[in-house]
């Protein structure tokens, strides 16, 4: 299965749409059709229609309203699954969408020529730039962007029907952000395919070099106790704190990159990291004492030379008791990469 296909919430416009005869129907019939198909009130559609500029993209009002209804149903109007969204919440959801970009994406997915012309005029240059930035090479970036164009145009067919990944765009974020993320996905796909084609000797050589260090260190009782304490301490952290630790200590992201990602100031990230590591050490001491160690022994355990320890911190940090997106997919425990991270490099409490 390809990445571009079968996204979970891909909007399927199973309409007798795109028929010019609809546009020539009477206004009363149109209103009835819109209300019947989309469930949206005609007043709301009349309000959102000029904002979307969908007409300039070759999209009809029926197609636009159907797309809106599909997006609302897909994301449950941004409400938790257990709640029933009210009409006000639905209207607020529709008004918060990026309507013009949604209309453009839907029109492109339907293969409308004006929409594609507009798409190229708006996104050709930024998409190429993003591809170059992701790949780190102008040549690879151009190749990546060109391959995405072909995919977006809907060269892949499913059951004889042309399908475009643009149909999965919902309009909650920007279309350019969606394109960047899609580019990143395609780049990772390409990297993985290339990685799988790498000769076996090259992969084994790198792993063999790291393997002995994990084998020669025997797990003593004290190390078991410390590993258990670290795991339990990390599990108690909220998701955002764990994400900060993972992004900073495991992924080696800078404070600025994390700040851009979380939409906070760089200093805020620094303060949070400092607070998290301080609290983590205190909690680790408490957990060690709860395991039967005295305070002095717990401090001595934390003061052990990190080079003598070998804890798979990545495994400990990335193991979660909660399952994300459990409401949409069967619970599958993600495979944890077998990367050994030493405490001296990545365990903040050991510093």
């Amino acid at each position: 299965m390809d990445t571009a296909s079968s996204q979970p919430g891909e909007i399927i416009l199973a309409l007798p749409c795109a028929q010019p005869s609809l546009a020539s129907a009477s206004a009363a019939e149109d209103d009835v059709t819109l209300a019947t198909i989309s469930g949206l009130s005609p007043a709301l559609i009349e309000e959102l229609w000029p904002i979307s500029e969908a007409a300039s993209c070759g999209l009809t009002q029926v197609e636009f309203s159907a797309a809106l209804a599909a997006v609302g149903a897909k994301h449950h109007y941004n409400q938790p699954p257990e709640t029933r969204p009210t009409s006000d919440q639905q209207i607020a959801f529709y008004r918060a969408l990026r309507l013009s970009e949604l209309a453009l994406a839907q029109a492109c997915a339907l293969g409308r020529e004006p929409a594609w012309q507009r798409f190229f005029s708006l996104y050709r240059v930024p998409l190429t730039q993003a591809a170059i930035a992701i790949t780190g090479s102008a040549t690879l970036g151009h190749d990546l962007a060109d391959s995405l164009y072909a995919e977006l145009f809907g060269l892949a067919t499913s059951g004889g029907e042309r399908r475009s990944p643009l149909a999965s765009y919902s309009g909650r974020g920007s279309l350019l952000g969606w394109l960047r993320t899609t580019l990143a996905q395609r780049h990772v796909d390409h990297h993985r395919r290339t990685y799988r084609e790498t000769p076996l000797e090259a992969i084994e050589g790198s792993e063999v070099a790291a393997a002995p260090s994990a084998l020669i260190t025997p797990l003593t009782a004290e190390l078991d106790r410390l590993t258990h304490a670290v795991a339990s301490t990390l599990e108690e952290l909220p998701p955002q704190d764990r994400f900060l630790l993972a992004a900073y200590f495991l992924d080696q992201q800078t404070l600025l990159q994390i700040a851009h990602l979380l939409h906070v100031h760089e200093a805020t990230v620094s303060r949070k990291l400092k607070r998290i590591t301080a609290n983590l050490r205190k909690q680790l001491l408490r957990n060690l004492q709860a395991d039967g160690l005295s305070k002095r022994a717990a401090e001595e355990a934390l003061g052990a030379d990190p080079r003598d320890l070998e804890i798979n911190l990545r495994t400990l940090l990335q193991t979660s008791q909660t399952q994300p997106f459990s409401d949409r997919a069967p619970q599958v425990i993600p495979a944890v990469t077998n990367v050994h991270a030493t405490v001296s490099n990545q365990l903040p409490v050991a510093k």
């Binding site: 996204q7 979970p8 938790p80 919902s170 796909d189 990335q318």
Partner: protein, 425 residues
């Protein structure tokens, strides 16, 4: 088959992009964070999607955004402001250097030399003069600037307190800038600069005009000007606060420096602190008073010209006041402090004894009597019977010690040969 993005397993591109743009609802944001913690692949995707800076931009785009080098903000207003400031600074510096700062050496008139002004400063302006302690004299190469507030009515009060002096051809000191509203007299000299300051913060809303003259007025309020009337305008002179208030001037914020600490002394105190500042003025119009380097010379000469000319330190008088005049003959030294008290020293200024007042009025200055003129003595001896006797008298007169002369504020001169006993001339 791609094992990374199975439906339902990982968030799709729309969710990831909405997360990076902070467009997800709170519950989905938490779900996304929870997933990102355990999924390094999705974290990598998020990091990759964040990389928006191209390493190598397409050539067409670069050409489309290329602009002339001078059209940017940096070369527009960004550099215009500092460039304008630098240009103004250079013009101001050039203007100040071109401003005429005449240096006159007839400043002994502050000591009320009536008959014949004699220069007490060395002729060469390059000769260094040690400042009178505790005077902190600004460098001569630069204009000393002070700030003070002058208002019309206060200026009138100031001029009313000037003591009457007999009209003498006093050569005025150097440039002193005064406030407007002081009546301009023909004797004041040529106006070399006129500046205006409008506004005022105390609600007066008036406009003050400053004029820069080449010399001080010779007469004030129908009488001769007090030679020390404008001494406080010179840099480094601190007016006694109490006295300044009596004269209608705004007292300085700083206290008396080098004085006795008493008030109502009618003295000028020398220090390096400005006379007044804006805060002490209550927000009125501030007038900048500028004096050239020659005014500093005048100040120094007025205090202890003889000592300064001789390279000596000014004497420390028992009154602890600065010496206005110090005169020395072959055996004795007489000094007049700023309070008008006369002191006599017979050991070259080591010990000082006060001289009882034997004159009427306020002593203003000291000087030595005119040197003996052999020509005049020869003329007076033409009627002498014996020319040899006349020559002996000439020798005796020539060997006579110069007498001291004291001038009071009324212009009367008193003479003394020993500095102890004074007689009206």
């Amino acid at each position: 088959m791609n094992d990374l993005f199975q439906p339902g397993h990982h968030p799709d591109a729309e969710q990831l992009s909405a997360f990076t743009e902070h467009a997800l609802p709170p519950h989905e944001q938490q779900q996304m964070l929870t997933h990102l913690v355990v999924c390094p692949d999705c974290r990598a995707l998020v990091y990759l999607a964040q990389q928006v800076d191209p390493i190598e931009a397409p050539q067409s785009h670069v050409a489309s955004i290329r602009r002339p080098w001078f059209s940017g903000w940096l070369f527009g207003w960004g550099l215009a402001i500092p460039a304008t400031a630098i240009a103004c600074l250079i013009l101001l510096t050039l203007y100040l250097r071109k401003t005429p700062t005449p240096r006159s050496h007839t400043i002994t008139t502050t000591t009320a030399s009536i008959k014949q002004p004699q220069p007490l400063l060395p002729a060469s302006p390059s000769k260094s003069i040690a400042p009178a302690s505790p005077v902190r004299v600004p460098p001569k190469s630069t204009l000393a600037t002070r700030q003070m507030k002058l208002q019309p009515i206060k200026t009138e009060q100031m001029t009313a307190t000037a003591a009457p002096v007999t009209p003498t051809p006093i050569a005025p000191p150097q440039i002193v800038q005064e406030a407007q509203f002081t009546p301009k007299t023909p004797e004041r000299g040529e106006i070399v600069q006129r500046t205006k300051a409008s506004g005022g913060s105390t609600g007066q809303g008036g406009t003050s005009e400053n004029e820069l003259y080449t010399s001080l007025p010779l007469s004030m309020q129908g009488g001769p000007r007090d030679p020390t009337a404008f001494q406080y305008l010179m840099p480094g002179v601190q007016k006694n606060p109490a006295n300044a208030t009596n004269q209608g001037l705004t007292a300085g914020a700083s206290g008396i420096y080098g004085g006795t600490g008493q008030t109502n002394l009618n003295q000028n105190y020398v220090e390096g602190v400005p006379l007044s500042n804006i805060a002490a003025q209550g927000g009125g119009t501030v007038v900048t008073t500028t004096a050239p380097a020659s005014a500093v010379d005048a100040l120094s000469t007025g205090t202890s010209a003889a000592a300064l000319a001789g390279g000596k330190r000014p004497p420390t008088l028992p009154s602890k006041l600065p010496a206005l005049s110090v005169v020395e003959n072959t055996s004795r030294t007489v000094a007049l402090d700023s309070a008008g008290t006369l002191f006599l020293s017979a050991d070259a200024g080591v010990t000082w004894l006060p001289v009882p007042v034997q004159w009427q009025g306020h002593a203003l200055s000291l000087r030595l009597s005119q040197p003996y003129s052999p020509v005049q003595q020869a003329n007076t001896a033409t009627n002498a019977v014996n020319a040899a006797v006349a020559m002996q008298q000439q020798q005796a007169l020539a060997s006579q010690v110069p007498a001291f002369e004291l001038t009071t504020d009324s212009g009367v001169i008193y003479t003394s040969s020993d500095g102890q006993t004074w007689q009206r001339k």
